[in-house]
Each structure stands twice: as C-alpha cells, then as structure tokens.
C-alpha cells in the first residue's frame, strides 16, 4: 500500500480510501449484477428448468451462461428510452438514482474483514472507519431512504398501477422498519455498543456465542423484516405483477429500469451483509481465534452470499402474501415478537447475565 501510494503521489490513507471505495461500491454493484444471473439460474434449478445458458463470449465461451448479465446490460443500454407523455419528467429521471444511491451507500459501514496493521498504520476493511459515531444507525437511516426511490418512481410515472405499488411498498417498509429497529436495538443493548466492529468482536469466534444463538427470536424478526425492506417475495408488494401489472416500475424501460432492478439486488446484498454482521459474527471465522485478513474476508463473503442465496431460494419457494396479511404480520406478529425479545434481554441483563 505504501509503495502504491508513493507511486500515485498520495498518502497511504488516501490511497487506501480510494481502494476501499472501488472495492466496496464496485464489489457490491458487480455482485448485484451477478445475482441477477444467480436468480435466473436458481429459479430455473428450483423449477426444474435450464435457465439462461446461451449467452457466450465471442460465441464460444459459455460458462453456464455467466455472461448473461453482460448481455442484459448491453441490451438495456441500446433500448429506446421512453418517458410517458404525462409523466413528471424531472422526477421520472431522478427516481432510478434515488433508488440506487441509498442501496449502494448502505454497505459503507459494514466491516467486510478484520482490520490489519501495515507500516505502522492501521487499516480498516470498512468504508467508514470504526468509531465514526454513526455505527449501525447508518444502515438503518439509509435503509429508510430507500423507500423514496420506489415512491418517486411510482408517483412520477402518473400511472395508477405504479401509484398503487408505490403506496403499498411505502406502507410495508415503514411498518416493518419498527420491528426491525427494535431487533437491532436489542443487539445494541447486549453488545453495549452500536459500532459494527464492536458487535462483531463481542460475538467472538465460537459459533455458539454468536447472536443467532443468543437471540434467535430477534433473528427471525430481523430476517422477516429484511424481506419487506428489500421488497422481495413473499413481500414484494411494490411489484406484484399478478395484481398491479409491474407495480412501481411499470412505465420504466431501458437503462432506467435496469438501475431500479439493480438497486433491488444491491439492497439484497446490504441486507445479507447486515444479517451476517449482526447475527453471524461478521468476519469471524468459526473456531479460528485470529484469522488472517484474507480468511476473514472469505468468511464474511461466504456468510453474506449464503444469505443472498436464501433470498433467491425463498423467492422461488413461497407464494406472495395478500396485502392485509402482510400488514397484519408486520404489526401484530413482528412488532410484539420484537418487543418480547427486547424485554426478555433487558430482563436478563438486569439479572446480571
């Protein structure tokens, strides 16, 4: 890192920051693109089909259709960019960015590997260094912003299906945010801190000391709420093509649609990373006390991609809920469960455990 920095005439800190920016945003974005392929192949696997397998580099190299996202991207770029006549033009343009930016930003605070010291300087593998004061409030705040992308896309299209989708999505996201936040607050309480690095180090390297074992109820609530927050099936009321055409993105085409779709996958990645960090020890490697940096990164990636796969898996296994069932589940099951979880752990802490 020092050599690279001197080569570029900057300080190691700045070079590291730029490297992290590229790793995090590029990594999340390309993983999201890759996951469109995983989703299509995964759904094909689950439904006993073959799925996309024809796209090939130079007409030869197929690799299980892995170049499909590339082909999709090129196709989206060259499609005609239609804007409905009565749409609010400015907001119609703005909406995909309002959706994508929070989706990418949410990852910034999550440590994707252990910190290391090199040349007398400590390097942290998270875009926002530990002790930034925002901690895990940051992904909650950014996650709350995500609803604006859907709302603005829905409203600016000036289409009743879109508005219905946007309204459903915003109601669902706001309702599930409460249960989710209470589950996270319980983790803050038992950890005694709210920085992701503190949450990870408090969990240690033994799998039975991770928060999933200590707070299984909290995990169930958080896991369920993440589906509503990312608008994934069985809670994808923003789209619901059997009811409201394609929901909030009915009027979108070409690259703008692609950005909206990619932002959903970026959300999925951030949600998986949050689950790994909060409940599965983040970058901790099971039974290894002081893992090397690469091993910790690999451990984090395995956990995160596992949850990203679970999102795909559940999408193609469960049918969509009805809208009132979703709201009832949110307010009458998730919120009370989350409160029970909070009060139980508060009681345990007051007993000195």
């Amino acid at each position: 890192m020092d050599k690279l920095a001197s080569l570029l005439h900057t300080s190691p800190a700045i070079a590291w920051m730029v490297a992290k920016l590229i790793i995090v945003f590029g990594g999340v974005f390309s993983l999201a693109a890759l996951w469109t392929w995983v989703e299509r192949r995964g759904s094909a696997m689950i439904q006993d089909r073959i799925g996309p397998n024809r796209a090939a580099l130079f007409g030869k190299i197929k690799i299980l259709g892995l170049v499909q996202p590339l082909a999709d991207g090129i196709k989206f770029f060259f499609k005609e960019d239609l804007v409905p006549h009565d749409a609010n033009k400015a907001l119609f343009w703005l909406a995909p960015f309002l959706a994508l930016v929070p989706a990418l930003m949410g990852f910034a605070v999550i440590p994707f590997g252990r910190s290391f010291v090199s040349g007398g300087q400590e390097y942290h593998l998270a875009l926002l260094d530990p002790g930034n004061g925002m901690g895990l409030l940051y992904p909650l705040a950014i996650g709350g912003m995500a609803v604006y992308g859907v709302l603005v896309a829905a409203w600016s299209s000036n289409n009743k299906w879109s508005i219905l989708g946007g309204m459903r999505a915003s109601a669902a996201m706001v309702s599930y945010e409460i249960g989710m936040s209470l589950a996270v607050v319980t983790i803050f309480m038992t950890t005694g801190g709210y920085d992701p690095s503190e949450v990870i180090s408090a969990q240690g390297h033994l799998p039975w000391a991770w928060n999933i074992v200590r707070q299984p109820l909290g995990f169930i609530v958080f896991f369920t709420c993440m589906f509503a927050e990312t608008n994934r099936l069985p809670f994808d009321f923003a789209e619901g093509e059997s009811e409201i055409v394609a929901g909030f993105n009915t009027e979108y085409g070409s690259m703008k649609f692609s950005l909206l779709a990619l932002s959903e996958y970026c959300h999925l990645m951030t949600a998986s990373a949050l689950m790994a960090t909060l409940y599965f020890g983040g970058w901790q490697v099971p039974f290894v006390k002081d893992p090397t940096v690469m091993l910790s990164v690999a451990s984090f990636l395995v956990k995160m991609l596992f949850f990203a796969w679970v999102f795909v898996w559940i999408r193609w296994t469960l049918p969509r809920f009805r809208y009132d069932q979703l709201m009832r589940l949110g307010w009458k099951a998730m919120l009370p469960l989350s409160m029970v979880n909070l009060i139980f752990h508060a009681w345990r802490m007051s007993q000195g455990h």
């Binding site: 609803v147 829905a154 508005i163 309204m167 709210y194």
Partner: protein
Amino acid sequence: MFITFALITLLGALGMLLQKNVVVAGLCMVAAFFGVAGLFVLLANPVAAALQIIVYTGAILVLVLFVIMMLNSHQEEEAQAARPVQRWLSVALVAGLAFGAMKLVLGSAGVKALAVKGAEMPQAMTLQKVGTTLFADHLLGFEVAGLVLLAAMIGAVALTKRNL
C-alpha cells in the same frame, strides 16, 4: 462543507415553500432534512444526524407523501381570497421568532465551545451518551414526551376507528 450543507438546507426549504406541486415540495423538504443532518455531522453529533434521517426522512415524510398520494392531490389548492393582513402578520411573527432564536443561540454558552480547538475539543456524541443524558438528566421530560405520544396514538386510533 458548512456552506454546502447550509445551501442544501436553505434551497430545500425555499423549494418546499415555492413549489406548487405537493409531492415535489415534500421531496424538497427531504433535501432540507438532509442538509440539517449534514450540519449535525459537522457539529460532531453523528447520532443526531442518523436519528434525524431515520425519524424525519425515513418515517414522517414517507407517511406524509403516502397520504398525499392516497388523496391524489397533485396541486396545492388556491386560496379563496387574498388575506394581506394575516400574511404580513405571520411574516412579522416569524421574523420576530427567528430574531429571538438567533439572539438566544448567539448568547448561549454553546457558541463559545465552537471556538475551542485541539485537545480541549469536546468528544463526538455517541448513542451511549444520548441514552445516559436522557435517562439521568432529563428523565421527567422523556417520560412526559412518551406519555404525550401515547395519548396522541390512542387519540388517533379512537378518531379513525369509531367502533372498536
């Protein structure tokens, strides 16, 4: 940095006032809240910034926009008659309030803390400090606020659901 965030806040607020389209006005307000959150970060209070975004932009304004969309009112309603007296009275009142608030802020002890440099600088706010302050120093106010919110919630339910 300060100028950027201050400009975002002011332009957002101005846009909210001048914009005839209600949804765009709401989005301008989001921008204003973002600017305020940025100002909180500059004041070494990231917790307040995060809470500002979670509570105001993540919950309250989403609900406001939700209601606007549900009522499907795209344009602000025109006033039936011009009311010059009320208008100037309210402008004068707001100006007086703003002047008083500025005077209070500039006269408070907190302003002197801004001039402190180096090791004397106060530590950044953390969630732990917010919690201890709320439950140790301002317990009464905190409980009263909780009670008021509970009453408001019960009132809202009672108003909307006639037959419980």
